[in-house]
């Protein structure tokens, strides 16, 4: 029997009480060969840092699969709370490609005070130029700056993916 979906509400400013217990910003051991660091800042429409956001990621394993239960505790899920500079950081494994027209990517949810529902974006990899060219989602985006906003940048030993909620360089956000 169809039932009515429950609406979304903001996480508010005090979500760390309920959401920080998991400590899930390291999806893999940082010493694991092939571990990648994904980091960045969340910025608002005045280019000010958003210090009260929750970033959640979900992605395939390096084989491009989504195992439901694994001995090593892999869930494909990570959660990080931004700090006073709006910064977040994950350590994970690079996801594998899913199909010929899906380049490796990480799905990202942004929750924050001021967001009555989450924002969803995708992070793609700078070293996957050919796969990115064939990616059906990237190909569907006509606006080059928007497409570029979905690409992480190599910086130091990690990959930077800044999330601009509004205004100049606004990140591309998705619905389905």
């Amino acid at each position: 029997m169809p039932v009515h979906p429950t609406p979304s509400q903001t996480v508010g400013p005090f979500f760390s009480l309920g959401l920080s217990w998991m400590g899930a910003h390291e999806l893999v051991d940082p010493s694991l060969p092939g571990a990648i660091v994904l980091f960045g800042r969340v910025l608002d429409g005045a280019a000010a840092p958003v210090p009260d956001a929750v970033i959640e990621i979900f992605h395939a394993n390096p084989e491009g699969r989504f195992p439901r239960a694994t001995q090593d505790g892999w869930t494909g899920f990570g959660r990080a709370l931004t700090d006073g500079d709006g910064a977040y950081r994950f350590v994970t494994s690079k996801p594998g490609a899913l199909s010929e027209n899906e380049a490796p990517h990480i799905d990202i949810s942004v929750f924050a005070r001021g967001l009555l529902q989450r924002l969803v974006t995708r992070c793609y990899f700078p070293d996957e130029a050919e796969a990115n060219r064939g990616d059906s989602v990237l190909r569907s985006i006509d606006d080059e700056p928007v497409r570029a906003s979905l690409l992480a940048h190599r910086e130091g030993d990690g990959l930077r993916f800044d999330i601009r909620l509004q205004g100049d360089g606004e990140t591309g956000f998705f619905a389905w």
């Binding site: 169809p2 979906p5 979304s8 400013p13 395939a60 949810s109 389905w176």
Partner: protein, 230 residues
């Protein structure tokens, strides 16, 4: 309202809410892009029982002494849009204490803290999609959104469905709360949908001489759906 699901565009609140001031610099100005749900969106994390202990669902017993306030039992089911239970998924909650104060350093509202109450809990749903928390009825509290602004008492709920598209964070309110009429967060949702966030008093789970019962089903599905024309 007619029978059946409402138009999807009415389900969730807007990103841009003039009445909820904190949204002003945080809502995207560009239209959302369409993401055809692929393998990443159609899978989701499963957390497993090893992360959770039964005591995590009893917010009144996380410290040496008794939490202050009115004991309540909050139960309900996690369902998909077809009314099917979602089993073994994570439900996380957080809330104020009985006086309307969060145990959080940024909450400087001059109401008393309760050293026996943190206000955070979690559990996994059972095979029939049910969850159950024993907690303290949260209090209303002032905030600075507009003059004389008060949030109605609420419990934050974070739930995971079967896949990435079903992730939902919401708030559970209490029946008959006069502050609901004045709250821009609650009022941000369409009139047809907002009462789904209000729990009902439940005599069946009310425990004699111990705690009042409140019932709250959470239904996931349809979120972030692009509103369809017509």
């Amino acid at each position: 309202m007619t029978e059946g699901a409402p138009p999807v565009g009415e389900l969730d609140p807007p990103y841009d809410s003039a009445e909820y001031r904190a949204s002003a610099l945080r809502f995207p100005r560009r239209s959302l892009l369409t993401l055809p749900a692929g393998p990443t969106e159609l899978h989701g994390p499963f957390f497993g029982h090893h992360r959770i202990s039964p005591g995590d669902a009893d917010l009144t017993a996380q410290h040496a002494g008794e939490a202050q306030g009115e004991r309540i039992i909050v139960t309900g089911r996690l369902l998909d849009a077809d009314g099917r239970p979602i089993a073994d998924q994570l439900v996380e909650i957080w809330q104020t204490n009985a006086a309307g104060r969060y145990a959080h350093s940024n909450d400087q509202h001059p109401a008393p803290l309760d050293s026996n109450f943190t206000g955070a809990g979690r559990c996994l749903t059972g095979s029939d999609g049910t969850y159950r928390f024993l907690t303290i009825k949260p209090g209303a509290y002032p905030w600075r959104n507009h003059p004389n602004a008060w949030r109605p008492a609420h419990i934050h709920f974070s739930v995971f469905g079967r896949c990435f598209t079903e992730r939902l964070v919401t708030q559970m309110y209490f029946p008959g709360d006069p502050l609901l009429d004045y709250d821009p967060v609650y009022q941000s949702v369409s009139a047809a949908a907002r009462q789904r966030m209000v729990s009902s008093f439940d005599l069946d789970t009310t425990t004699p001489e111990w705690a009042l019962g409140y019932y709250f089903d959470i239904v996931i599905g349809g979120h972030l759906a692009t509103p369809t024309a017509g």
